[in-house]
């Protein structure tokens, strides 16, 4: 396996996902297969090749810093799973 169970456990933590033992087995095998496949890129000579992050040749696009009307608070809150007093409600953050 090119990706170990320990690594998958670590990635799951970084991704904020919980895995059952069965899922851990399955994802370790799946990710290993995919990573093995992706390893074919190590055959490519990329020395001196610039990486492409974005296809278009555009730099930062700025707009004027002007106040504009935004969405209505009540409208936005309609999609919040929990709300209270015009705010999104979350569990206690600071003990």
């Amino acid at each position: 396996m090119s990706v170990s169970k320990e690594e998958v456990k670590h990635i799951a933590v970084l991704s904020k996902l919980q895995l059952t033992d069965q899922e851990l087995e399955k994802y370790t095998s799946d990710l290993s297969n995919i990573v093995d496949f992706a390893n074919e890129l190590s055959n490519v000579d990329v020395d001196g090749t610039k990486p492409t992050a974005h296809i278009l040749d555009i730099k930062n696009v700025f707009r004027k810093d002007e106040v504009q009307p935004s969405y209505d608070r009540e409208e936005i809150l309609k999609n919040a799973p929990s709300k209270d007093a015009g705010c999104v409600s979350v569990p206690k953050v600071v003990e």
Partner: protein
């Protein structure tokens, strides 16, 4: 002939000429949906009440001889990852099952400004991650040509509704082939425009440097019409290109004399279905017969596209999907101990297996120790692939390749082995990596009468050339006239 079976161009004209009322058109499509949808399962949400309300307003305007736009009164379906104000937009995920956007995507505004009527939202792979629409949390969409097979994906619902006459056109999104591959499987036209030609504002992000919205239609002319409506700069999408407006319908000319079609012989090799190969060879002959020149080209690095794609796309996805934390919108787990537990449980319960696989793969290739070996290297190979295409387009006007190596497969056939599923995208991903425009159009049928698509690719922002060549091919073949028996 039933109204629902007409093309987008024809129905728009009939409405404008007052041969039919908009209500009659809606009645025809919704009764077709009532008849066929129970078998195909392509829609997640239907929007009858809004649609009829809108139809009435548009009809009044038309009766007063006001202009109702070039798509005035025409029913159109939308993939469920494109935001529609006041209408649920689920991404076919438990995470967004109850999400109702408070704004319209720019493409929706443009469609409605042109008079179109949104009739429903279509099924898809969860967060557009898949090639069969099987990863949808909501339902399984069937291929109208054979209900035991998948419609392709991720825009499987949009392809299926156009194929089975449940909409005159539909919007989809294409990150690695999600418009073209299902178009191929369902025998419709699927256009993936140049990255930047269409605003992505309101498209729920999967991989931002690859995602692009595009139309599903019954004909190439209809695709040009749709492109006229949805293309254009948008200040809400900083990656949208600011170019002069083009009338794509002017490219709808049945003539390719002297045009050079590139054939990448080094890319189309093993692993391609025999019938698809035959259809491809026949397509080359068809083009020769109408006066196109055939030119062999090389795409040396194209074979690395799939590995490159699955690194870049998952890396971007892992970042984009970080926003789903169960706080401001989307699914929130019912039982949790503290804030961290809320994040874990909401994401674990809200995402399906394929989405989790891709989030983890993306996290892996971005994690320290692997970044250079995978992510950075993939970005470098991306550059090489782009350069390949640049060289190729010095020799030809358009590249011809199959859309997919196979025709539509049976449910469950590839869903156990993710890698096998990914291989269905081998001919579509290079286009996204290089940001190019490409179109899949009906190009034949296999021995079991399943559709085969063929794909034309053009250089950036050369949609006119692409549409001209695709239209000429279409008009000199009969494949597009065949409809599924459903």
């Amino acid at each position: 002939m039933d109204l629902y079976s007409l093309t987008l161009t024809d129905i728009a004209k009939k409405i404008k000429d007052k041969e039919v009322s908009i209500k009659e058109v809606l009645d025809s499509v919704y009764s077709r949906i009532e008849e066929v949808e129970p078998k195909v399962d392509a829609y997640i949400t239907l929007t009858q009440s809004q649609a009829y309300e809108r139809a009435e307003k548009l009809q009044q305007k038309l009766d007063n001889n006001e202009d109702i736009g070039i798509l005035g009164g025409v029913p159109i379906a939308i993939k469920d990852n494109i935001c529609t104000k006041g209408v649920k937009t689920t991404c076919a995920s438990r995470m967004l099952e109850n999400y109702t956007p408070i704004y319209d995507a720019t493409v929706i505004k443009k469609l409605e400004d042109a008079g179109a009527i949104v009739i429903g939202k279509t099924n898809m792979d969860e967060f557009a991650m898949g090639s069969s629409t099987e990863t949808s949390y909501i339902k399984k969409t069937k291929n109208p040509w054979d209900l035991t097979r998948v419609p392709g994906g991720s825009s499987g619902g949009s392809a299926a509704v156009v194929s089975s006459d449940m909409a005159f056109a539909a919007l989809g999104s294409d990150t690695g082939g999600s418009i073209r591959q299902p178009a191929s499987y369902c025998s419709v036209v699927g256009l993936k425009p140049t990255y930047g030609l269409i605003s992505r504002f309101g498209l729920i992000a999967f991989a931002s440097s690859l995602d692009q919205i595009g139309p599903f239609t019954k004909t190439v002319e209809d695709a040009a019409l749709m492109l006229n409506v949805i293309s254009g700069h948008d200040k809400m999408d900083t990656t949208s290109a600011n170019l002069e407006k083009v009338d794509y319908l002017k490219a709808i000319v049945n003539d390719v004399k002297g045009k050079v079609i590139g054939i990448p012989t080094d890319f189309i090799t093993d692993g391609i279905n025999k019938d698809v190969r035959e259809a491809y060879d026949k397509a080359i002959d068809t083009l020769k017969n109408v006066g196109a020149k055939i030119q062999e080209i090389k795409l040396e690095y194209a074979k690395y596209s799939l590995a490159t794609y699955y690194i870049i796309a998952t890396a971007e996805a892992s970042s984009n999907l970080g926003r789903y934390d169960g706080i401001r919108y989307g699914y929130r787990a019912k039982d949790f101990e503290d804030l961290d537990d809320l994040y874990y449980k909401s994401r674990t319960e809200g995402f399906g297996a394929e989405v989790k696989r891709r989030i983890m793969l993306g996290t892996y290739v971005l994690s320290s120790g692997y970044y250079d070996a995978y992510y950075k290297r993939a970005q470098q190979v991306r550059t090489l692939i782009i350069e390949n295409f640049k060289e190729a387009f010095k020799l030809c006007d358009s590249i011809l390749i199959p859309t997919a190596p196979n025709t539509a497969f049976k449910f469950g056939e590839k869903s156990e082995n993710p890698l096998e599923m990914y291989l269905e995208d081998i001919y579509t991903v290079p286009v996204n990596i290089a940001g190019l425009p490409a179109i899949s159009i009906p190009g034949g049928f296999d021995s079991e009468n399943m559709p085969i698509g063929i794909q034309f690719i053009a250089n950036s922002f050369e949609e006119e050339k692409l549409l001209n060549i695709a239209y000429t091919f279409e008009q000199n073949t009969d494949y597009y006239k065949n409809k599924p028996n459903i």
